[in-house]
């Protein structure tokens, strides 16, 4: 960030608070940021791969994928993993809250209870800390954002998707995501996105809306915001494998018929999702 150009401090009438943004900035950088991201969706929709791709890390190094017979008895679990990521001096304490077991059972009636309790518990804890005496070191574990994964294989929202989103849209920012987007051709994607948006509106689900760009922002930013808003829900592909394509190494997925590049905006919305999130 450029230091603000301010006039000579000795000039009469000068107060000096133009420097404030810098101070806030410096303090934040020292303190670091916290962000809690919850991921919800049926098994096998590409949640873990996407998270690993977004944060260029491997959050689940010793993962064992259970078979169907094991899943019959399982209820929804809440698994929170925290990583500290540092980039150019900025520290991010990222907590990813995973919800294995969601949508797997034959009867998913009780799917959401565990998740909603978790969200409420974090609010409760924060409230408790906030009302307490030692407020300097409050840890904010509240769920800031929930990526809800919609299956790219279906025709739109399933009954479970609708019910769940309605149950949490007043508690957390929902960002609907369609992962494994390489299943769909461009036309199919447009159709699916439109269908999902229609169904969201029809059921009165409140998803997270990007705030419009302020009128004093520059045109590029305004245009970018417009583009982001128009692409929701994002259709993404995740991968941490490097593939050779067109002479360079890219993150992608290698098929017999071609290479899907994660960071290619013509192939999927991964970059948009990342821009929006970060």
């Amino acid at each position: 960030q450029q230091p603000a150009q301010f006039t000579n401090p000795e000039t009469p009438g000068y107060v000096g608070f133009a420097n404030l943004p810098n101070q806030v900035h410096r303090k934040s950088v020292k303190k670091g940021f916290e962000f809690t991201l919850m991921v919800v969706g049926e098994s096998g929709l590409g949640k873990s791969t996407l998270i690993n791709s977004l944060f260029l890390t491997d959050l689940y190094p010793e993962r064992i994928i259970p078979g169907a017979a094991d899943k019959i008895e399982r209820t929804v679990q809440i698994e929170a993993s925290t990583v500290e990521i540092e980039e150019r001096g900025v520290k991010l304490r990222l907590t990813v809250v995973d919800t294995p077991g969601y949508g797997d059972a034959i009867n998913c009636r009780d799917c959401f209870k565990t998740i909603i309790s978790y969200i409420d518990e974090q609010f409760e804890r924060y409230l408790h800390d906030e009302s307490g005496l030692n407020r300097r070191h409050i840890i904010d574990n509240r769920v800031h954002c929930c990526f809800y994964f919609i299956s790219p294989f279906g025709h739109g929202l399933k009954p479970l998707d609708v019910e769940f989103m309605k149950a949490i849209h007043n508690k957390v920012n929902i960002v609907p995501v369609i992962a494994k987007a390489d299943t769909l051709s461009l036309k199919e994607r447009e159709r699916l996105k439109k269908r999902i948006l229609d169904e969201i509106e029809e059921h009165g689900i409140k998803i997270y809306h990007l705030p419009d760009a302020e009128s004093d922002e520059d045109e590029d930013f305004k245009e970018q915001t417009r583009l982001l808003k128009a692409s929701i829900p994002f259709c993404v592909v995740g991968s941490n494998q490097l593939i050779e394509a067109k002479g360079k190494k890219v993150r992608g997925r290698l098929y017999p018929w071609g290479v899907v590049e994660v960071e290619n905006p013509e192939h999927n919305d991964f970059l948009k999702l990342r821009t929006m999130l970060m």
Partner: protein, 350 residues
């Protein structure tokens, strides 16, 4: 329990042409267009030609059921298999369609013809399966439908004045669509296949396989095969019905390597290397449905239509139907008495 050869001949005439494994009586027949200097030639082998001609004249029934969550490409795949719009969903989505609240059974019949052979194909769709929040017992309507068809056939068969050719509405083949998560089967998949593999031929299919890379596909298939084995699910072709060594070798290869078939369906054509192919167009390439390097659709098609079509019908008739029949005729062994609509009034032995 069947009577002697006489009855077998009647049966062969009745339920289309279902070759019995028993010997046909030796009757000298006039050889057709064969070199007459072959001494001692009787001409029994001409029965193949006669059966073929009969089949062409009468045509045959084939009933295929598709089961799986909505959106897995069932209708598209069936359309691709039979190269015609036999499933009610054509390439566009019908925007008015909502997921039904219970499982529905929708049977649509078509007559398709190829090389002079007529096939009355019935596609039985099961919308609503696996789509609800609570999917407990959602296979029951499907099991009920299958048993109802056996019941219908049974009623016709035991009728004293039975038809020369009993219309066959029994489900010959059930394609079960597995979602290509890349992880494992879902609990619902296991439950469905456990229950239904006992009453119908199930062919598990991995849908929308263009989601997976080659390694992912191989791993997933291995995992699914293992899970099916560990849970004792006998999908078609069932090991216990391999008739001889030749069958066993051929079927073993299919069971242990090819199945479950990872397929991609499409009814759109594109130009690739100067040829028109069925495929899916993406920004990174065209997925050719009939290209074995891309997916296993051609294997599934050859398996179901070109090599095992008749066997599917035979196993349905000789094994599944017989099991049902034995249960019913042994004093309702566990089954509640069924009420099925049959056309005219008839005297029955039941």
């Amino acid at each position: 329990p069947h009577a002697g050869p006489v009855e077998s001949k009647n049966e062969a005439a009745m339920s289309e042409v279902v070759p019995e494994p028993r010997q046909t009586p030796v009757v000298p027949m006039k050889p057709m267009g064969i070199n007459a200097s072959l001494l001692g030639y009787i001409g029994i082998d001409t029965i193949i030609e006669q059966m073929r001609k009969k089949t062409m004249k009468t045509g045959f029934d084939f009933n295929i059921m598709v089961v799986g969550q909505s959106g897995l490409g069932k209708s598209t795949l069936v359309n691709t298999l039979f190269k015609s719009q036999v499933s009610r969903k054509s390439s566009g989505w019908n925007r008015e369609e909502k997921i039904p609240k219970t499982v529905e059974i929708k049977a649509i019949g078509h007559v398709i013809e190829e090389g002079g052979v007529k096939m009355k194909l019935t596609v039985i769709d099961t919308p609503g399966f696996g789509d609800q929040i609570n999917n407990e017992n959602c296979w029951e309507p499907i099991e009920k439908y299958i048993n109802e068809q056996y019941e219908k056939f049974l009623k016709e068969e035991v009728n004293i004045a039975r038809k020369k050719r009993i219309p066959d509405t029994r489900v010959h083949c059930c394609l079960y669509f597995i979602s290509p998560t890349g992880h494992s089967l879902r609990p619902l998949d296991l439950e469905f296949m456990k229950h239904l593999s006992k009453v119908v031929n199930i062919i598990p299919v991995i849908a929308k396989a263009d989601t997976m890379t080659l390694e992912e596909k191989t791993e997933f298939k291995q995992r699914v095969r293992k899970e099916l084995e560990v849970n004792g699910i006998e999908f078609y072709p069932q090991k216990e019905f391999d008739e001889d060594l030749e069958d066993k070798t051929e079927n073993d290869k299919i069971r242990q390597e090819s199945m479950p078939f990872a397929v991609v369906g499409s009814d759109k054509e594109y130009q690739v290397n100067g040829k028109r192919v069925l495929g899916r167009k993406t920004p990174w390439g065209i997925i050719e449905v009939e290209n074995l390097n891309h997916c296993e659709f051609a294997l599934l098609r050859d398996f179901v239509i070109r090599t095992h079509l008749q066997d599917l019908k035979e196993v349905t008739h000789n094994i599944h139907y017989e099991t049902y029949r034995a249960k019913r005729l042994n004093g309702n062994g566990g089954l509640p008495p069924m009420t099925v609509e049959t056309e005219e009034n008839h005297e029955s032995n039941l």
